[in-house]
Amino acid sequence: MSQRAARLALPLPARTQRVLPGFGLSLGISLTFVSLVLLLPMTGLVGQLKGLSLAEYWAIVSDSRVVASYTVTIGAAAVAALANAAFGLLMAWVLVRYDFPGKRLLDALMDLPFALPTAVAGITLATLYAGNGWVGALLEPLGLQVAYTWVGIALAMAFTSIPFVVRTVQPVLEDLPPEVDEAAMTLGAGDATGFRRVLLPYLWPALVTGTGLAFVRSLGEFGAIIFIAGNAPFETEITSLMIFVKLQEYDYAGASAIASVVLAVSLALLLAINVWQGRFIRKLHGGRG
């Protein structure tokens, strides 16, 4: 699409003066890709849903076992995301603020869950945390069972989404000028107060974004969880498994219906994160935008 054509195609505000080249090209590539790769396949989902009446749709997505799976999934994802918020904050803090031997290694290790295929993570966690695994053998006598319980699901979710919080908080913490700390200290704030009242608010947007992304990722995770979840109905069945079950029953419409719920929730969350972040940043950087 030429730039001119693009101008004609979209009602553009007059103030937009495009100095830089490549609008048409990049718009063309982006739209083609987004339509073909992302949106077109989604029509398949919509197509399946069209075959359902509203009542049928409601019956599928509000089935008590499916609802129980939402509870399990959302609960475990929330726990995983919150655990990650604390863990990620600690890691980001330690990596940015302190120097110690092995720091580079620790830093590199943070990305492991993204680099490691989820299936590998799944079988490894199951092996480690089962009653006869290295860690499980230690926990079992304490009465703490991880594998095949709700805790295992949260653990697998937490593992696969570790980098989100660390990697969103880390750059913000790095860019925080030393004066912020110093100003707080000259005003008499102690470590805890200074962190809570001054530093944390700076990290807040990044922390919320990272936690939100970790949560969304956990909602959809399947590969890693399936090995460590007990898949007991009403207790340790995740929503992805319910979709999988529907597929096994050739019930594409049912699978699509449940998938649409997860998709809608995830997209809404992502959009909310984007919008919230925009608002927050606008507040801190004056009334612009």
Partner: protein, 367 residues
């Protein structure tokens, strides 16, 4: 509260010394400026006083606030006010919350009631004339306003020592002027002891009771502005404060020669370096018998009380600057490109290690 430093030194790893052992005394209620080029150690010194940096253990220097030895006291317990160059306001807090912060983090038993905090914050905001902006966020304020908030915040705990790190460095000239005057007023009114860092000599001289001129981690001289200008302790201070013209050449038979330039003097034989302030240079259309210093006018700036004229010549290492009264300027009818002669009224000399030698009036001017 007075501040006393003895043998405060600082070095950073292998990078070298940032501060030679420094001794400094600031009297209670005094306003002292730390002036020097960048890298002279002035900010380091200020931060050490604040407790943001730790001085070297060897030599074991001490910092005393009044009679209280604060050398090993943590910054948060030193009870100083500190104003940062870039304000360092907490951008997620309103102006009110910023100013109130120090009060709200006090230990519970020392903390005033919220009503009292409110009253005190508003009093401070009134003082900095920002009471209308209490609910704004820092990003919604101009630079000058932000710096005023920062000052109010630093004063909220009623510190007896106020430290300011290039407080006006990031502001434009007009706002800077205004804030300077206002800071002086505030200082006189509240009577705290202030120490501020600047690289702007005009600011230092105008604002301070005394100025400490620093270079290479040392205090070269600490004195009143007047004394600094008129009785510089060494060449560095002389050169750092105000503009300086150089004339360097060989003296033989009572005549200093430098390229095409000649100056009759009574100095001993040998290499000499004379320094002249711009107002110590007179301009003439013809050379005098005592001085033959031909130069070309390269720029003329008639703005202000005096006219500033820039001169260039082959024999100058750097262009000279001369200031003359408007009357003289008009009489000479100066234009760019005009060739004329500079005549020293007086000049200054320093020994090889920088100690001043008596300034002497030039013969021409005396004649």
């Amino acid at each position: 509260m007075s501040i006393r430093l003895s043998d405060i030194a600082k070095h950073y790893g292998r990078a070298g010394r940032a501060l030679e052992p420094v001794n400094l005394e600031v009297a209670e209620g005094e306003l002292v400026g730390l002036l020097g080029p960048s890298g002279s150690g002035k900010t380091t010194l200020l931060r050490i006083i604040a407790g943001l940096e730790r001085p070297d253990r060897d030599p074991a220097g001490r910092i005393l606030f009044g009679d209280r030895d604060v050398t090993d006291v943590h910054v948060r317990d030193r009870r100083i006010g500190f104003v940062f160059q870039h304000y360092a306001l907490f951008r997620h807090m309103t102006v009110f919350d910023n100013v109130a912060f120090g009060l709200t983090v006090l230990p519970r038993r020392e903390r005033p009631s919220s009503g009292e905090i409110r009253a005190r914050v508003y009093r401070l905001l009134e003082m900095v004339q920002l009471e209308r902006f209490a609910e704004r966020y820092p990003a919604q304020l101009s630079g000058g306003q932000q710096q005023r908030v920062s000052l109010a915040r630093a004063l909220a705990l009623r510190p007896e020592v106020l430290l300011l790190d290039e407080p006006f460095g990031a502001l434009d000239a007009k706002v800077r002027q205004e804030l300077r005057r206002w800071l002086r007023q505030l200082h006189d009114e509240l009577g705290f002891t202030s120490l501020f860092v600047t690289h702007d000599q005009e600011e230092a001289l105008e604002l301070s009771d005394r100025v400490a001129v620093m270079s290479h981690g040392r205090i070269e001289q600490i004195d009143t502005p007047d004394a600094l200008y008129h009785a510089p302790a060494n060449r560095f201070v002389f050169e750092f404060l105000g503009d300086v013209n150089h004339l360097e050449g060989e003296v033989r038979d009572g005549v200093l020669t430098c390229g095409a330039a000649r100056l009759r003097t009574s100095l001993p034989e040998g290499r000499e370096r004379l320094l002249l302030r711009p107002h110590e240079v007179r301009l003439a259309e013809t050379p005098s018998p005592e001085a033959h210093l031909p130069a070309t006018v390269t720029a003329v700036s008639p703005v202000g009380a005096e006219v500033r004229v820039e001169l260039a010549a082959d024999w100058m290492a750097e262009p000279w600057l001369a200031t003359l009264r408007h009357a003289d300027y008009e009489r000479l009818g100066l234009t760019r490109g005009q060739r004329l002669f500079a005549v020293p009224r007086r000049w200054h000399r320093f020994t090889a290690d920088g100690r001043p030698q008596p300034a002497a009036p030039a013969r021409a001017a005396a004649a």
